[in-house]
Amino acid sequence: MLIFNEHIIQIELQEWLRVAPDLLFIVIDFLKGIVEFFQSVINYTFERLPYNALNRMIIYMIMIFFVALVLLLPTIIISKLYLAYRKTKYNKLHVKYSQAVIGYLIGSKEENEVADKEKLKSSRFHRNVLIDVLMAIDKAENKEVSDKIRNLYVDFKLDKESIRKLGKFAWNKKIFGIRELSHMRVKSENQKIISFQQKNNDILRIESQMGLIKLLPFVPFAFLDSQEKPFTVWEQINVFDLIRKNRIEIPEFHLWLNHWNDSVVMFSLDMIRILKQKQAAPYVLELINHDNDYVKGKVIKTLVDLESYEAIAKLKEIYHLEELPNQLNILKSIGQLKMDTELNFLEDKLKNEEFKIRMEACKSIAKLGETGINRLNALAVNADEELKGIINHVLDPRI
């Protein structure tokens, strides 16, 4: 007996068992018919062609392409319809939950009105939409709001859903789990997240680091100690973004200046520079003879941004030993610190044949203020064409 109830078809088991063999025979007959049809087509074709391996192969390949084509077409239609259906359903539910959560946050709704707990229990789709909504609304960076959202997350047992994702085989699902748990500051799974740092999958490893920064706010950068793989700029940007947007204890980054991994050293230098950790200047200066030119470049930039005037003497000392990019960095640093005592040093560099050195030296002279500008104007009188052009460029305020 078939009972239609809200689009759900319920069929009694006995009825199914009675009908199933007949249905099976019909399906088998249908498939047999298709196979026979193809066989007859193949036989018909072979009868009209010389019997050889090539002809057989071509015919079989045509059949394969044809069958694949027949399978692809409904796949396209079904996937298109399914994706559109999911998108609509997701959007509708997202709006519904967003309104409910906002209502709860402003006090016009009770917690039990935000979502139907039974529905959440039975539908993974509903759980995931509600998690998305909570995470999206929690970007307000208001502690009170954030705590209320976290309570909702825990009360609706959505943390169970996130924890379940950590155990999934697919690495991207694990990442969703890490993101959700770290966002909602659920620390019970910290050990599992820490274990992901040993994984070969770079993306999973990076995401676990990001998660731990949020979950371990008092030792957020502990992962740097054991960072063996290159710490990419992409990771650095994300970490810096976390520092800015979250209540995270900012460490003294000079602690990692002697790290064996140069990418960690460069990140630490950038952080010292951006966060203006002036007390780190002596440690930074110690790296001035670092083997890696890129690190050295960052050292120069950091010293200048920390306004370390005493570093200039050292930088001048190493100038002639450096490659072009770092020579330019040194020249730039003198201008940035506006050290008019170094005018002669800069002027000397205008004799260099390299365009970039002349340009950078001129720019630094101009940055010295009136003394520098007057000097450039005086130099322009007897300068060669290239230098004249550079001086005009530097003195043009529109560029």
Binding site: L54, A68, I76, N238, F240, G389, N392, I399
Partner: protein, 488 residues
């Protein structure tokens, strides 16, 4: 060996060549599609939780120059430059190079952006034609716009001037008529940020066809399947090429082309390898050369590819313009392949030498020639009674079913990944175009590829004319202009 034996030998040889070639081609394309599917799946998984906005205000993000070479683009250049300013990025400048246009391109720019000449000292790191002047905008909004006016020297020369002007870490070369997605720069920059032990020297993205799409304020407001059948068939071509071919080649580290319509490069590497060469296919040539340079310097490097649709361009909608474009592409391919023949099957150049180059040589350059010889051979055999009509028919059916299957596969990838064609019936219209494509677009492409080969053999190295119809605007302007831009 007598005459009959010789004929039999040639016939036997050709049979084997054509059959092996056809099966190798089918195998290669199928393998590439599978690799592409794996790469696409990985890309989508990897980027499903990426927040690109973290790059926007990060002090660690690299600086980028957007380079726009322009030649006789007077009627569209202002709109196009304005559209570049819809992109989301902070640390960037725009360098437009007027390559000695004979129309009002420069005057239009000067008027619209209130340009004034500045005392710009140009570092000639790459040799170029003479620069008449460098201009900057007096308008605050366009303070990062630099316009260079120079003697005509071709697209490559204009791009080289722009590289000389740029002082940024990376540059993005685009065509003057390209419409960028707002997050195009963010998405192209990301691979450079993910550099580990291998330096990322270039990144390419997917270019899509904008014919019949609705443009609003310099952005694609509505994606539509082109009404023009020729353009619609090119949508399929682009989908196959960008979503299946290039994605797979990037995964295999054998990518040797980044579209001239949009690509991002490490400026230092390009300067060190000599900049753009004065060839017809300067986009492909540059990629091959920077790869060669890095291999010869024994530096580890990679070229990345972003499968997101990041750039929209206008496809030729009439046969003559389409033909000129295809002949030019063929000549560009041949020129690049012959100039860099040293890398053919050379293990020194890694996957480019062992896979990428041989594939382009066999299936891009030689394919039309093999096909033409095959057709002639089949006609001769049939005329002499050595080939049955049935065999010709099943061979045709073999090629046709494979072509249709392969294009349908590409449509499926598009639907499963970015599904930009959302209007009712769009996919059906595309599939109908796929059914017709082997009878319409393919013979035309074949003809013009052969023509390109002949032109190359005759020493023709010109760009030819390029006709643009303009895009459809939401404000009712159906088509901007019908202009003939004599592209150098």
């Amino acid at each position: 060996m007598n005459y009959d034996e010789l004929i039999r030998f040639i016939s036997y040889f050709l049979d084997k060549v054509f059959i092996s070639y056809a099966f190798l081609l089918v195998f290669s394309y199928t393998a590439l599609s599978i690799v592409s599917g794996i790469a696409l799946n990985h890309y989508l998984k990897k980027n499903s939780f990426v927040d690109y906005s973290v790059i926007l205000d990060s002090p660690l993000a690299p600086s980028v120059s957007v380079l726009v070479p322009a030649f006789n683009e007077a009627k569209t250049i202002v709109d196009n430059v304005e559209s570049i300013y819809t992109i989301h990025y902070n640390n960037f400048d725009v360098i437009v190079v007027n390559d000695g246009s004979t129309d009002e391109t420069f005057e239009e720019l000067q008027k619209a952006f209130d340009l004034e000449k500045v005392n710009f000292a140009l570092n000639h790191e790459i040799e170029t034609k003479e620069v008449r002047g460098v201009y900057k905008s007096k308008i605050e909004t366009y303070s990062n716009l630099i316009v260079v006016d120079k003697e005509n020297g071709g697209k490559a020369d204009a791009l080289n001037v722009a590289i000389n002007v740029s002082d940024k870490d990376l540059f993005m070369a685009i065509d003057a008529d390209s419409i960028l997605e707002p997050d195009a720069v963010l998405k192209l920059v990301k691979p450079f940020l993910e550099r580990t032990d291998r330096r990322v020297i270039a990144a390419g993205g997917v270019v899509r066809i904008a014919n019949s799409c609705v443009i609003e304020n310099g952005r694609i407001a509505e994606v539509c399947v082109p009404k023009n059948l020729l353009a619609r068939m090119q949508v399929l071509e682009y989908t196959r090429s960008f979503l299946m071919g290039r994605m797979a080649w990037a995964k295999l580290d054998g990518l040797i082309i980044i579209s001239g319509a949009m690509g991002m490069f490490d400026r230092d590497v390009v300067v060190q390898s000599g900049g753009y060469a004065h060839t017809i296919g300067e986009d492909m040539e540059l990629v091959v050369r920077i790869r060669r340079y890095m291999s010869e310097q024994r530096e580890k490097y990679k070229i990345e590819y972003v499968p997101d649709p990041l750039c929209w361009t206008e496809a030729p909608s009439n046969i003559s313009t389409f033909g000129r474009q295809r002949s030019r592409w063929t000549r560009g391919t041949i020129e690049t392949l012959t100039d860099h023949s040293k890398i053919f099957f050379s293990p020194r150049y890694g996957a480019m030498g062992m896979l990428g180059y041989p594939f382009w040589f066999l299936f891009e350059w030689l394919a039309p020639l093999v096909e033409l010889i095959g057709i002639i051979y089949a006609i001769v055999l049939y005329a002499t009674g050595n080939l049955s009509l049935n065999f010709i028919l099943i061979t045709f059916l073999f090629v046709y079913t494979f072509a249709l299957f392969f294009t349908t596969w590409a449509i499926l990838y598009e639907e499963l990944t970015f599904h930009r064609y959302e209007r009712k019936g769009d996919v059906f219209r595309l599939w109908i175009a796929a059914v017709l494509e082997p009878f319409i677009l393919h013979p035309i492409s074949l003809f013009f590829s052969i023509k390109g080969n002949i032109q190359y053999a005759r020493g023709n190295r010109n760009w030819g004319k390029m006709e643009r119809r303009g895009f459809r605007h939401k404000n009712g302007r159906k088509s901007k202009v019908q202009l003939l831009a004599n592209k150098n």
